[in-house]
Amino acid sequence: MSCCAPGAEMALDLDSGTSVLPSSQEIKLASRSLGDGLSQTDLSVPTVHCAACIQSIETALRKLDRVESARVNLSTKRVSVQWRGDDVPPLVAALGRLGYQAHLFAPEVDEKDKTLSELIRAVAVAGFAAGNIMLLSVSVWSGAEGPTRDLFHWVSALIAIPALAFAGGIFFRSAWNALRHGRMNMDVPIAVGVSLAYAMSLYETINHGDHAYFDASVSLLFFLLIGRTLDHVMRERARTAVKGLSQLAARGAMVVRGDGARDYLPIGEIEPGMQLLIAAGERIPVDGKIIRGSSDLDCSLVSGESTPRNAAPGEPVQAGVLNLTGPLTVQATAAAKDSFLAEMVRLMEAAEGGRAHYRRIADRVSALYAPVVHLTAFATFLGWMAATGDWHRAMTIAIAVLIITCPCALGLAVPIVQVVAARRLFENGIMVKDGSAMERLATIDTAAFDKTGTLTLGQPRLINASSIDPAMLAIAADMAAHSRHPYSRAIAGFAGPAGRPKLESVSEHPGFGIEASAAGSTWRLGRRGWAGWKARTGGEGRHGHGGTVLTKDGIIVATFDFEDALRADARAAIRELRDAGVAVEMLSGDTAGACGKVAEMLDIDSFVPALLPSGKVEHIETLAKAEHKVLMVGDGLNDTPALSAAHVSIAPATAADIGRSAADFVFLRESLLAVPLAVDVSRKAGSLIRQNIAIAIVYNAVAVPIAILGHVTPLIAAIAMSASSLLVIGNALRLQGFVANAPAQDARRDRRAGVDQLAQSS
């Protein structure tokens, strides 16, 4: 029934091999109780994408015992299941049988839904009011007179009240907030213009006047709300997509009590001194010390080291490390709030600087714009007072100036461009969390990359496959399929055709390798010193102690060399960035040797190896002091403080949870070309925003003199406002056709070159 499950999702064509399925205890911790013994669990199912998927998932889940209901949400790629009882039904297993991988996601904050539905309600109310008032206004413009006109004005005034109170409230609150803090934003001139226009029109209506601007004030709100809502929807979509990524941090751990009893406790309740059972494939939840068991640890997310580390009793482990091969018993040495992860969060909060000081383009423009407009209107009032002494006329004309300059186009100019740009990026698997991120990305001149997991995939790749006897390689691949060690996974990809001796009694020796017997001989795949127990001289040979070999009865028959695989298109991405005038640096926690090799392959001139998390932050702050605008691209826990210290930051979808939430952009696909694409689109969006602001200013330069001379009627105001809005929207839409697919071919050629070079360098 998995007609379309694998790789169907547009944005998520990632290798999910490294993700760990949530255990039922974890799911229980993540579910919320609805009362009456009913609980609800929300799971993210990224590969669901059609009606058949919906049906098969819902039917299969509803058939499970104690499941009350299951509903798939296709837009967010989630399924929410309600179930009874204490134990979680086997939801993930049931989905797995259908071919869908499910995982938990970061707990939801309900606030966002409120904002969105408030915005949509406001748009609906403003749209209703604008439509009806415009209808009445058209009849006034077409010549309704006397009592009919007054009636129309009164009805318009009544309809405008809910629109102003409800839809306008959003602007009034924001403007008041800005003014109270002594700042100026786009909402201040909007709020002033709209409320003055309404007050003046009401006065006109009471005094049987000709001109009322109810239509202008309400349709202004309507246009601006559309822009604002689109902006919000786009950002929300990106946030949902990022939240739907599988959570990497553990939610809890199995605690072994003194009397041997086992409890699954949430992370917050784990205290120093407790003993935790960490199964193979789980992440270590808090800092601790190994007391029993041996295994291999994947520290790439924590320290940036790419080679898995051996773990033996007595060694300390940090929270966030992935346990690969064997079960471990770990004694917690710190509570979660004092663990490595929490330390990173503290560093991150301390580092927050670059973006806090950034002021949005729209706010900077309106800081100049609003005073100019308000002074112009005031001067017009004084001028007409001096010239005619008719305060009513002077007031009417001054308010007409305010209305015609009300930043309708300006308020739309920025969000519309950003919505179009965010959409383009979304289609390419890049999520933008925030409009200001694009403005900041457009200004960067330096890009700092993390190595492991960012420039490389953090997964080893077998590089000497061609020089290994295919028969041996096939046996090794069969054995490797039994292990989740990254080296094994790399070898397992080379499984050959059937017809080799059948393996019997395969067993994994954590920290050493895999042993199997086949056709009377003993085969071992693993560390040289352990597998090749007869080849004593080879123990510390060319490949060092950690070299991986395949042995038959203790004799080495094949050796395997690994290299951390480069992320797809890394070279092309670096080159494109450089062509775009961005200096590229590499900051890594790995050794100088490992960094040097990657830097050479990618043509990166400057790199800093063996950096601690705080070292990365310091480096970025030094660059910032030298007036550089730094983009940080990184994935590990150790990069997180640097991500928030940088002017703007990008993280891959495989990044640690807090890294993903700290970064401004998250790209979901494997290719690193996402980075230059994001820079490119942001820069183009930046220039379109400037163009749009220029258009808005030109429009004002034409319209304001007409208004000052007193020739603006409500009809002219309505036409001018709509025309300028359409103009900026049309200009923003040009972004859609901008970037052609030219770099794609280039990249493919480049990838081949990269592979060749990798082979040579071994």
Binding site: C50, A51, I54, Q55, R62, E68, S69, V72, N73, L74, S75, T76, S117, I120, R121, A124, V125, F128, G131, N132, L135, P147, T148, L151, V155, I159
Partner: protein
């Protein structure tokens, strides 16, 4: 003029009805999963009522 006295309220009432309908649809969660709604129409339901 007399026609306007009842035509305008009628027009406004109909408009308000549409607005109320939209707000109701929004509140009852019909806009939560637009993609899903588009696909669900292709699913054949059994005769027995759904949960």
């Amino acid at each position: 003029m007399t026609t306007l006295v009842y035509l305008i309220p009628v027009a406004l009432f109909l408009g308000a009805l549409g607005l109320a309908g939209f707000l109701w649809a929004l509140r009852s969660g019909q806009y939560e999963d637009l993609d899903g709604a588009a696909e669900r129409i292709l699913i054949d339901r059994d005769d027995k009522p759904d949960l």
